[in-house]
């Protein structure tokens, strides 16, 4: 599905220039559940950003269905994200002046999805349609951002520390929603987290350190969100 080949990424200039990704290669298969873990500054978020087309690598290729998205223009990258990807961030980034229904519509309109309220129902917020982000708890806001991402029917869902701002109980609930919905809709999940316990939920775990992939392994037995440690 996505083939990352020798991708490198640099930030900064002059003496402050540093290499966030060092010639990383990784194959992401359709329908897989990938968890990328590592310490702060290990390059995991950078890997997610270049794999999702949010950023271009300085070197290497990101092959998606025979197209190297690293060579696309800004407009073409926008089109790529429009058609193929969904995002969930730690800070939710909901639009404060739009209610739950309209926030989810942000994703739904891009896919022409008229039945987007089914996704809102799937995350258990059907009674909060008219609520505004300021009236919701952190967990509920994250569920809105999940619904918003899934309403655009993405082929790959990228998640950057989706439970980072949540307490244990709410975090488990969010992870449970994600894995349940993945089984139902069949999209690929690429999740970045510093919580090693979450790796037990993944098909494949990618460990990173200092901009390099240090280990890739598959879980023979996956655990549910309520079985993992925290």
């Amino acid at each position: 599905m996505i083939d990352i080949v020798n991708a490198s990424k640099f930030y900064g200039t002059g003496q402050s220039r540093f290499q966030a990704l060092k010639s990383v290669s990784l194959k992401l298969k359709k329908g897989g559940f990938y968890v990328v873990t590592g310490a702060s500054g290990s390059g995991k978020s950078t890997l997610l950003n270049i794999a999702s087309g949010l950023e271009r690598p300085d070197d290497g290729n990101i092959i998606y269905s025979e197209t190297d998205i690293a060579g696309l223009t800004d407009k073409e990258l926008t089109q790529f994200r429009r058609k193929h990807t969904g995002f969930i961030f730690q800070q939710y980034y909901l639009l404060p002046n739009l209610n739950v229904d309209k926030n989810v519509k942000m994703g739904a309109d891009l896919a022409g999805n008229k039945n987007y309220r089914e996704v809102i129902k799937a995350v258990g917020l059907e009674d909060k349609l008219q609520k505004y982000p300021g009236e919701l708890s952190g967990g509920q806001q994250q569920r809105v951002s999940i619904a918003r991402a899934l309403a655009k029917k993405p082929e790959i869902l990228f998640l950057d520390e989706p439970t980072g701002a949540l307490d244990e109980q709410t975090g488990r609930q969010i992870l449970d929603y994600i894995s349940t919905l993945q089984r139902e809709y069949g999209f690929t999940v690429v999740m970045v987290t510093h919580n090693l316990n979450i790796a037990q939920m993944a098909d494949t775990v990618v460990k990173m350190n200092s901009g390099k992939i240090t280990e890739i392994y598959s879980n023979s037995e996956k655990k549910t969100a309520y079985e993992i440690g925290w």
Binding site: S45, N49, L54, E55, K75, T78, Q79, F80, R81, R82, K83, T85, F87, F89, Q91, Y93, L95, P96, N97, L98, N99, K102, K105, M106, G107, A108, D109, L110, Q130, Y132, P133, G134, E135, K152
Partner: protein, 382 residues
């Protein structure tokens, strides 16, 4: 310090506004005081009629221009204070958490008064620089006695020093009122009040596309920007059309001054409003782009909603200047000879509209370019 001296440079729009208000008021009020001193020398009926018309005209110009610009400056100042409170809410929240009162935490906002003081002082000086020419133009027919230009310290106090102090106090007290919130709502990213949510809920409607919804909610929640857009087009329309008429009714100098003030005010407020429309939405733009919305769709959602308001402001300005000049010619100058009858100048209206359309679309084009430059990295930086 939450707000420093360098932040005042961002308040250039208020300084320009203060400059224009004080420039107009100083010229006319100084003239009124000076002409009042020689009123006993005015004896002929024509000169008396011209004298009283000049006084009425000066009072009208001062109260309309000065009043209108002062109110707009105050609205603009409140807009900036709110902008900075939102921008610095975490730091302000920390101050409150440490035990500072709302007033103590807001004291640094008093520095915004410097912008008004600087603009007003520049306007005051500029008015005295132009005054010899202005006095000559006011008495071009030689009906009134020669008037010497005197410096009046009371004008300096009322037009420069007191407004500076008033606007500094207004900044502090408005910031203090905006900080009357629980500390936690400042530290967390939630400044959305129940009242605001209630208003939004009342306005929510049936099925619109996401971009249409966003456009609608922007107009509902950013009323100050709508006001500035309307004010900008109103100023441009009223003052450019008035300047064409002034060439005929009064003098080229008056026409040029009015044109210059109108275009400056219109450009300043238009730049302020359009850049705030983009600058206040960078996270929204970045998020929309991350999801795959094109630059054009972002522009449509965030900027297109202001266009009808801008052109409505233009129409309002056209009507306003027509009525104002009609009143001036038919009532104020009715006893003065050689004042031609005033008719609506369609050609001036068309030229003004065309110039405004170019200016407005140029501003929107610049904003569209700024939208293109907003990177999706905006949402990765936190």
């Amino acid at each position: 310090m939450i707000v420093g001296i360098k932040d005042t440079s961002r308040l250039a729009a208020i300084a320009v506004m203060a400059f224009c208000a004080v420039f107009v008021c100083t010229m006319f009020l100084n003239y009124n005081i000076d002409i009042g001193a020689v009123s006993s020398e005015i004896t002929s009926p024509e000169a008396k009629a011209l004298y009283s018309a000049m006084l009425s005209c000066s009072k009208m110009a001062c109260s309309l221009s000065g009043g209108c610009l002062a109110i707009t400056s105050a609205v603009m100042l409140l807009f900036y204070v709110k902008h900075y409170v939102t921008l610095r809410k975490r730091e302000l929240g920390i101050l409150k958490a440490l035990g500072y009162t709302d007033l103590q935490a807001s004291m640094s906002f008093g520095i915004f008064g410097i912008s008004v003081l600087a603009g007003a002082a520049a306007g005051f000086c500029a008015a005295y620089a132009v005054m010899p020419l202005f006095y000559k133009t006011q008495n071009k027919d030689g009906l009134l006695p020669d008037i010497d230009i005197d410096f009046h310290p009371s004008l300096l106090l009322y037009l420069v020093i007191l407004p500076g102090i008033f606007f500094a106090a207004l900044s502090v007290f408005s910031a203090s009122r905006m900080l009357k919130k629980p500390v936690i709502s400042l530290l967390k990213d939630t400044l959305q009040t129940n009242g605001k949510i209630k208003k939004l809920r009342e306005s929510s409607s049936a099925e619109l596309s996401f971009t249409a919804e966003l456009r609608k909610s922007n107009l509902k929640t950013k009323k100050a920007l709508v006001f500035f857009m309307v004010f900008s087009s109103f100023c441009f329309s009223a003052m450019t059309q008035m300047s064409f008429s002034m060439n005929e009714l009064s003098s080229f100098l008056m026409g040029a001054i009015i044109m210059l003030i109108g275009v400056t005010l219109a450009c300043t407020t238009l730049i302020l409003a359009s850049s705030a429309a983009v600058g206040g939405n960078t996270k929204t733009i970045a998020m929309m782009k991350a999801f795959g919305y094109s630059d054009k769709e972002c522009r449509t959602a965030l900027l297109d909603g202001y266009r009808p308001w801008s052109y409505a402001g233009f129409a309002l300005g056209t009507g306003y200047q027509y009525l104002l000049l009609k009143i001036a010619v038919n009532i104020v100058f009715k006893d003065v000879e050689n004042i031609p009858d005033y008719k609506f100048d369609l050609a001036a209206a068309i030229v003004s509209l065309a110039a405004f359309a170019v200016l407005y679309e140029l501003a929107i084009y610049i904003c569209a370019k700024r939208i293109e430059r907003v990177s999706v990295k905006e949402i990765m930086l936190e």
